[in-house]
């Protein structure tokens, strides 16, 4: 057996290893003997708890533990991968996975140099991000009581017809062994609660949703006024019942922190992912060092912002994470990368390799992505010279076509801005545009940049992310 038994040592409750080094290291050496350039085995053990309330009553509670591992082998400049929940079977897959990589390599065009990996420090260590209140110690009653606080405030109006609350927490234990001698073990935790409130008035039915949480333990939600979250959702849902449809056309848009975050995630973050750049699917290809945005725009992606939902200590190739400064005063400075793309673009590996879980191979992904603050004091100062525009709040999500550089994101609610004042509430606001155009149209940012609500990013695989920034003003945005 490769996997240690729970009786011997339980890494989910302390330091320890699930992978048996005595068996895995020789297996990786076998891969080299079979002609591989590089081999790695990465294991993720997720101890999870999810729960949901519907109308104040427990609807579901699911405790779980999932273990998966992925063997990734580079041979003749091409990748072969094998993933399984049957960890014990993986050493027996070494030879076939080397053959698979070689079969891919044999199809490569003669002009294609194949995959090379940037060099990184070879580290043997353990790194555990500890929390003040470990998620594995939370009992179901606590989860129910905290979701109950949201429900009680969210439900306080006869027009509210349903309140759904959800909860998830997870402890993530990672191990990575490579043929280069890397042997890293790390762990961290995440926690999140969410709600969706539905209101009805006659035939009009609307909903509003909210999330809070991040990287860390129960202390994150202890510090959150969950009742206020429920109250805010209720008030927003009720306001939407009487909100008007948004106007269509080009106008000045002011985005709240949530929407600023989803904007920078979609419009800039994805095109900055170096695997998309390498695939010829990014509008930012060849633009490093070019001015692509307004002087006001500085953007970072930072997995080391503790408490952000996209935080992690070590990336899924064993590279130490660091702050990535993508744009400084409008100039594109860096791509998010992993070892393969760092080599391709001659960049320093910046720890951007992430996978959904133990069963997926790493891709280049964002972590916590933010626009930094500007010079405006507050919302009032930002809108005082706007004759006609929209202040949009709360994200319903977004999407980008990285190649064309077009993006779209949608707001949960909005207000019309008339003569420097917020006037009517609006609904169904979405914003679209072209990345390389709209980054230049940012002409106002408040000073107070911070991460907004937790989010999830899909790119074939789903990973948790944080994003945010200050309040942001964009001229001539296409509002629909």
């Amino acid at each position: 057996m490769v996997i240690a038994t729970r009786a011997q040592e339980d890494p989910s409750h302390g330091r320890g290893h699930l992978l048996d080094r005595d068996k895995i290291i020789p297996a990786l050496e076998l891969a080299l003997a079979e002609g591989a350039q590089y081999a790695e085995l990465r294991l993720v053990c997720e101890t999870t708890n999810s729960a949901s309330l519907r109308d104040g009553k427990l609807h579901s509670a699911i405790p779980g533990q999932e273990v998966g591992a992925t063997l990734r082998i580079l041979a003749d400049g091409a990748w072969g991968v094998h993933s399984s929940t049957d960890i014990a079977s993986i050493p027996s897959q070494i030879e076939s996975t080397v053959r698979l990589a070689k079969a891919v390599a044999s199809r490569r065009n003669s002009a294609d140099a194949g995959v090379c990996l940037a060099e990184v420090p070879i580290i043997k260590d353990e790194l555990h991000w500890h929390t003040r209140k470990d998620v594995r110690e939370i009992d179901l009653e606590t989860r129910l009581e905290m979701m109950g606080q949201i429900h009680a405030e969210a439900n306080d109006d006869e027009r509210i017809i349903s309140v759904r609350c959800g909860w998830s927490d997870e402890h993530l234990h990672h191990e990575l062994l490579t043929s280069e001698g890397m042997d890293r073990t790390w762990s961290f935790q995440r926690i999140m609660t969410n709600t969706m409130v539905t209101a009805r008035d006659g035939d009009d039915v609307v909903s509003y949703r909210s999330r809070t949480g991040g990287e860390g333990g129960l202390e994150l939600l202890d510090a959150t006024d969950l009742g206020k979250m429920g109250r805010t959702c209720r008030e927003s849902a009720l306001r939407l019942l009487s909100a008007e449809r948004a106007p269509s056309g080009k106008m000045t848009l002011v985005a709240d922190r949530d929407l600023t975050g989803v904007y920078i995630h979609e419009a800039l973050g994805h095109p900055c992912e170096a695997d998309l750049v390498a695939a010829g699917d990014s509008c930012l290809e060849g633009k490093l060092g070019e001015k692509i945005g307004s002087e006001l725009v500085t953007v970072i992606d930072d997995p080391l912002i503790r408490g952000g939902y996209g935080a992690y200590p070590i990336d899924d190739e064993g590279v130490d994470t660091r702050t990535k400064t993508l744009i400084v005063n409008g100039v594109l400075m860096d791509y998010l990368n992993h070892r393969e793309t760092a080599h391709k673009f001659n960049l320093i590996p910046n720890g951007g390799a992430r996978s959904q879980d133990g069963l997926h191979h790493p891709l280049v992904r964002m972590s916590n992505t933010m626009i930094m603050g500007g010079n405006h004091r507050d919302l009032d100062e930002l809108i005082e010279d706007i004759d006609y525009g929209v202040f949009a709040c709360g994200s319903r999500g977004g999407q980008v076509d990285t190649g064309r550089g077009s993006f779209q994101f949608a707001a949960q609610e909005a207000w019309l801005i008339e003569n420097g004042e917020l006037t009517k509430p609006l609904k169904d606001v979405s914003v679209s545009g072209m990345t390389l155009q709209i980054l230049k149209q940012v002409d106002g940012l408040t000073r107070d940049a911070a991460l907004a609500a937790p989010g999830f990013c899909g790119k074939g695989q789903t990973v948790p992310v944080g994003d945010g920034g200050p309040l942001m003003r964009i001229r001539d945005a296409l509002v629909g």
Binding site: E66, V81, A103, V206, G398, G403, G480
Partner: protein, 466 residues
């Protein structure tokens, strides 16, 4: 790719868990198991980026005690005792639902076309050869065209369900699918198009799908000047319409959401809700359907049911638990399972969703060319960005498209660079509309699989050119 005894081994594991349930004298229990195997290829920058294989699986356990239920999942049968303890502990903290019991065995539906031995026999080399063909076909169709991203995969899986009320069943299914993003980057102009296909049997339409992807990457080049914001007819191709339809309509048809007042079709049972020549059918037993099965996620027999018949709302989607809960809470007088319990996997208890959802018309259907002619003036939208931001509660949406063609006097005159598209799906389906004659299967943003044709919506949508 699938071991010969995969189903037997999985059933053996499920029975071992069931034995632990019985030894704990549980009132009611249900064990589900899944085991999947497959090969996949990632395509990138006109080449094969990697080849992968592997398998995953596990077991799920639901226990019911006095109308209360709890759930736990486990990697293999060795964790059964722990899972029983956890599920029971949760059940005892859950609210009791009067009359809630797990389904009894009333038999299973007859389904066909869910297994193709040719897929089970596929090797990783077979998949690599298919990927080679896709890459070379794209270049052969247009030397400028490159597959910038996408993938190809073939898989086979076994699944089983056993419960304390006599259900014991299992089966094997196969799947084969691919999707490609094709880009043409020339003269400082990049256009791209995504197309894909999936099937329970070995794909037979790879060539046609590749041709569509190249065609749309070509036809959206050399954009024309944008027009004004207008409320006008829009021909949504099946690829453009399916994401919006799937985000909104399946949710609106869930019985619990209707009973709670959360659906825009709540309190409308028996009433006309869409155009009277249209019907919406959930066919969970469709031959070869991507979401077909002989039993639903909790073992109840599946069926074909007409949810909206000639414009009138006739039925909704229920699982046993939701039906009992809504009756116990007095939200509905009578409801029972419609065989619509859906599972996202063994890691979670069953929810409710559609299977294979079809939009059909009693009127004549039309070719795409005749729909364009019929539209006279308007736009064709082939894909939308941000369909997941549509509001399933209200049906409202406001999305963006870069695959939009302007039609004047029944002829395509050119592509727009980008446009906003907004409206309300529920209301658009009430208005004047015509359906195309070719139905294609697409995935879903909520549940099930969408089998939809092109739809010409004459009213209710707004185009906002960039």
């Amino acid at each position: 790719m699938l071991p010969d005894d995969a189903l037997e081994r999985l059933m053996e594991s499920a029975r071992a868990v069931a034995k632990v349930c019985e030894s704990n004298s549980l009132q009611q229990w249900e064990v589900v198991g899944e085991q999947d195997y497959g090969h996949s290829i990632d395509l990138e920058a006109g080449r094969i980026a990697l080849a992968a294989g592997g398998g995953s699986g596990g077991l799920g356990l639901r226990v019911v005690e006095d109308g209360r239920y709890g759930y736990a999942h486990l990697a293999d049968a060795s964790g059964a005792q722990r899972a029983v303890k956890e599920a029971l502990s949760i059940a005892r903290k859950s609210p009791s639902i009067a009359g809630f019991e797990l389904p009894v065995d009333t038999g299973s539906a007859t389904t066909s076309g869910l297994i193709d031995r040719r897929i089970i026999d596929m090797s990783s080399e077979d998949i690599l050869e298919q990927a080679d063909e896709i890459l070379s076909s794209v270049t052969a169709l247009d030397s400028r065209a490159v597959v910038t991203g996408g993938g190809l995969g073939a898989g086979a899986g076994a699944e089983v369900i056993i419960n304390s009320n006599g259900i014991e069943d299992g089966g094997i299914h196969t799947s084969h699918g691919f999707g490609i993003q094709v880009g043409i980057d020339e003269d400082d102009q990049l256009t791209s198009a995504y197309e894909g296909s999936s099937s329970r049997s070995r794909l037979s339409d790879i060539e046609q799908v590749v041709e569509r992807a190249v065609h749309w990457a070509q036809i959206t080049r050399n954009t024309i000047d944008s027009g004004e914001v207008s409320d006008c007819p829009v021909l949504m191709t099946a690829e453009g319409f399916s994401p919006l339809f799937s985000m909104v309509v399946p949710s609106a048809l869930i019985g619990e959401r209707m009973a709670q007042g959360e659906s825009f079709w709540s309190n409308r049972m028996g009433e006309k809700v869409i155009a009277d020549h249209l019907s919406i059918v959930d066919d969970r037993i469709m031959a070869g359907g991507m979401s077909s099965s002989s039993r639903d996620g909790e073992g109840a027999m599946t069926r074909r049911q007409t949810l909206v018949d000639c414009g009138r709302l006739q039925s909704s989607l229920w699982s046993t638990r939701d039906a009992c809960r809504m009756m116990a809470e007095g939200k509905i007088e009578h409801a029972q399972t419609t065989g619509s319990a859906s599972r996202g996997g063994y890691q979670s208890p069953p929810g409710v969703g559609c299977g294979n959802l079809l939009l059909q018309t009693s009127q004549k259907t039309h070719s795409r060319d005749s729909l364009i002619e019929e539209m006279d003036e308007g736009y064709i939208v082939h894909s939308v960005m941000g369909a997941h931001t549509a509001n399933p509660t209200s049906g409202d949406f406001s999305v963006t498209t870069s695959m939009v063609l302007r039609v004047e006097q029944g002829e395509i005159i050119g592509a727009l660079k980008q446009a906003g598209l907004s409206g309300n799906i529920g209301k658009a389906l009430v208005g004047e509309l015509l359906l195309g004659d070719e139905v294609r299967c697409h995935g879903s943003y909520s549940s099930g699989s969408m089998y939809l044709p092109d739809v010409l919506l004459k009213r209710g949508l707004r185009i906002n050119p960039a």
